[in-house]
Subunit: 426 residues, 2 copies
């Protein structure tokens, strides 16, 4: 496509999304749920055309030399399509977040002020290879009354186009505006740049993907962005920790699924218990296949304990998101120094303390400036499902609007309605 | 100052603000209130040095040819300084928003999840000539546990510097970090540009001022911005309106203080009552000194009624914020067309319907996509004090984070704390 064609296309899509969003904002729950259930049925009944479209992406991906890991993320199967359909039905079953009265106040002059949950409006979702994001995000935005504009990755363009066509058919069946969900049909980066300037029509951008994609979005967007760059999560083992519990939590937080953002990358151990704890946890981690990167103090204790393999940590280790079975470990003198360390090097995602000392725990919970702070629990629970939200569109490490796991409520904003009896300002 | 000096200075201020914000986030209410009361006393005891500093700004302003209106906004007086001090004491009296438990949920696995109100962190306030903003914003940020970086206008630099020095003394007296409130000592635009890139240290920017300043901030900021560009507010007089009530509300919403953002700039009149309502309201508005800009349909009715002066409206009139005794008026066939008109031309600030028809009112309240929507009340109530927030830092027409009047709660975000008993993810 020509540059000017792209510009005209994105502008038209953004305008159409805005009009659709106004209709969607007051759409009754039944229409939204009927559309979602129609989409789930369409997905289940479209396995072979979806697999065919996906085959084209996989073929192009292989030709382009994509890694096996990326090809796996891209690949659909009957099972994966069934899981998508099931996810959409679960979203249909959730309560409608729109219209809930969040606060009511009556003023001395008789004004009745209500704060009401309403959709954000138009949400732009920018994502990379995983095609299930297309369906998940479309469904979450629809349920929360938002129009969405989806911009997926080049690798999944055939699959995403086929999925978006099903969404459009479902919108028809549910009698909702066809522009309520739109996929940008080109992965030209200029289209993304145009989209990020449409602040007259689009109210929120959610980028999902690697740090460089997210940075590009933040640098180019006039529209508010909700994001998390990375998850550099830390567990701090306090001097008053139950060391058996600590061991269990470290292993779970690091090893249960090392490739996700709420797995820990750093371990801080209070100096007072380092000698008692470090050799044992180091052995256990190595047995799980974890590579250890130790500061000098931790290294001297582990080295003294005998034949445990480790690598000396470099300064970069304290800020790196490994997403892999690697753990950076250092000792620290106090709860206060642990708090400072996490606030300096962490990413504000999920951090925890293991301790039996309630006062230390309270200081840690208050002092650590992260979206989710844990006491005697694995950091792996930072997740919309684990939080009981029933679904999640992502996790935010931003301070503004939404922080931590984002479900349907976080895809909404609020408005005030004010009712008077001819009330004027004196 | 040299460009590199400015860069180094802003970077250091932003870092220092971040460190101060971490201390401030857990500062007990008593320390914050003691600091605020000390500031109020210092203001009252510093009338003559403040007037002296303000005199330099006024002199420079006169030399630069500032308008009388601008000079008046800039000028301090004993009374205005007293009002500032009183405002600060009122903020001290407000409840501390920090630490409130907003939600609690216990999960089947025993995890106790609490959602807790916490400060945003570091807030940058960008504003123009009015020096009372320096004190108001410093006090509101302090009370809500946020560090602030203030960047005032060139016209008020001496006054702002003198006021900021008092804030610093008050922080000392209250034993709070001196960097909790910092004024950028230069009004070089490069300093503002640097500030807007410090997303590693600053979490929120609030610009207050004209549309071009706010647009500059949005275009240059990597940090989330909360703003309102302008207030193009509309009252819609429905066919089922009580016309006496409608007249009273229109006069109040337009004339009580025409220079503010929640005054109306547009009036929509249902065609069914236009002939009955328009001549009467037009005469009343003209008697109040209001200039009328009428669409063809409204003009033909008003012209037929005799000698009422008006100007034909141009397309720009429907989107212009006059901030002056001017009102654009058009007729419209229905509540639905009024909703569409407001969603197309309005600024999403404050809009209202006057009607005795509850069903029409409900459709309007739901359908108008504005931060505050009124039924049978003047739009002039969109204000933190009128909403019972006790204070306001501004009004947002954004969808994200805060919408409408912003008080102390809106200067906060939330965090989750999660307590387990050695709970791991299965």
């Amino acid at each position: 496509m020509q540059t000017t064609e792209i510009e005209a296309l994105v502008d038209e899509m953004a305008r159409n999304a805005r009009y659709a969003s106004l209709a969607l904002a007051t759409a009754p729950r039944e229409e939204k749920d009927r559309t979602l259930r129609a989409l789930a049925d369409l997905l289940e009944n479209s396995v072979s055309p979806l697999m065919e479209a996906n085959g084209k992406d996989l073929e192009a991906g292989r030709a382009a030399g994509l890694s096996d890991a990326l090809l796996d993320r891209l690949a659909l199967s009957g099972e994966r399509i069934g899981a998508m359909a099931q996810g959409v039905r679960q979203i249909a079953d959730l309560d409608d977040p729109v219209g809930e009265v969040l606060e009511t106040r009556e003023r001395p002059n008789g004004l009745l002020i209500r704060k009401i949950r309403v959709p954000i409006g138009v949400v732009g979702i920018i994502y990379e290879s995983r095609p299930n994001v297309t369906v998940d995000c479309a469904a979450l935005c629809l349920k929360s009354g938002n129009a969405s504009i989806l911009r997926g990755g080049k690798e999944a363009i055939y699959t995403n186009t086929a999925l978006a066509a099903l969404v459009t058919r479902a919108l028809e069946e549910g009698s909702l505006p066809g522009h309520a969900v739109q996929l940008i049909p080109t992965t030209d980066r200029h289209a993304l740049q145009c989209l990020l300037k449409k602040d007259a029509w689009i109210q929120c951008i959610i980028p999902r993907g690697g740090e460089s994609l997210i940075r590009f979005v933040v640098e180019n967007s006039l529209i508010p962005v909700i994001k998390h760059y990375k998850g550099v999560c830390t567990l701090y083992i306090d001097r008053a920790a139950d060391l058996e519990m600590a061991k269990k939590l470290v292993i779970n937080a690091k090893c249960q699924r090392p490739g996700v953002c709420n797995a820990i990358e750093n371990l801080l151990v209070n100096e007072a218990i380092a000698a008692a704890f470090l050799p044992d946890i180091a052995r256990a981690l190595v047995a799980e296949g974890v590579e250890l990167r130790l500061d000098e103090s931790a290294a001297s204790i582990v080295a003294a304990a005998g034949d445990i393999p480790y690598i000396p940590a470099t300064p970069d280790d304290w800020t790196e998101e490994y997403l892999a079975p690697i753990l950076a470990i250092k000792t620290t003198p106090s709860t206060e120094s642990a708090i400072e360390d996490i606030n300096t090097f962490g990413s504000g995602h999920s951090d925890g303390i293991v301790t039996a000392d309630e006062a230390a725990a309270r200081r840690f919970l208050a002092g650590v400036d992260s979206a989710t702070v844990y006491w005697n629990a694995s950091t792996r629970f930072t997740d919309g499902f684990e939080f009981g939200m029933g679904a999640e569109i992502g996790i935010s490490t931003d301070k503004l609007h939404a922080r931590g796991p984002m479900g349907l409520n976080e895809l909404c904003t609020y408005k005030y309605t004010v009712t008077g009896r001819g009330t004027i300002k004196e």
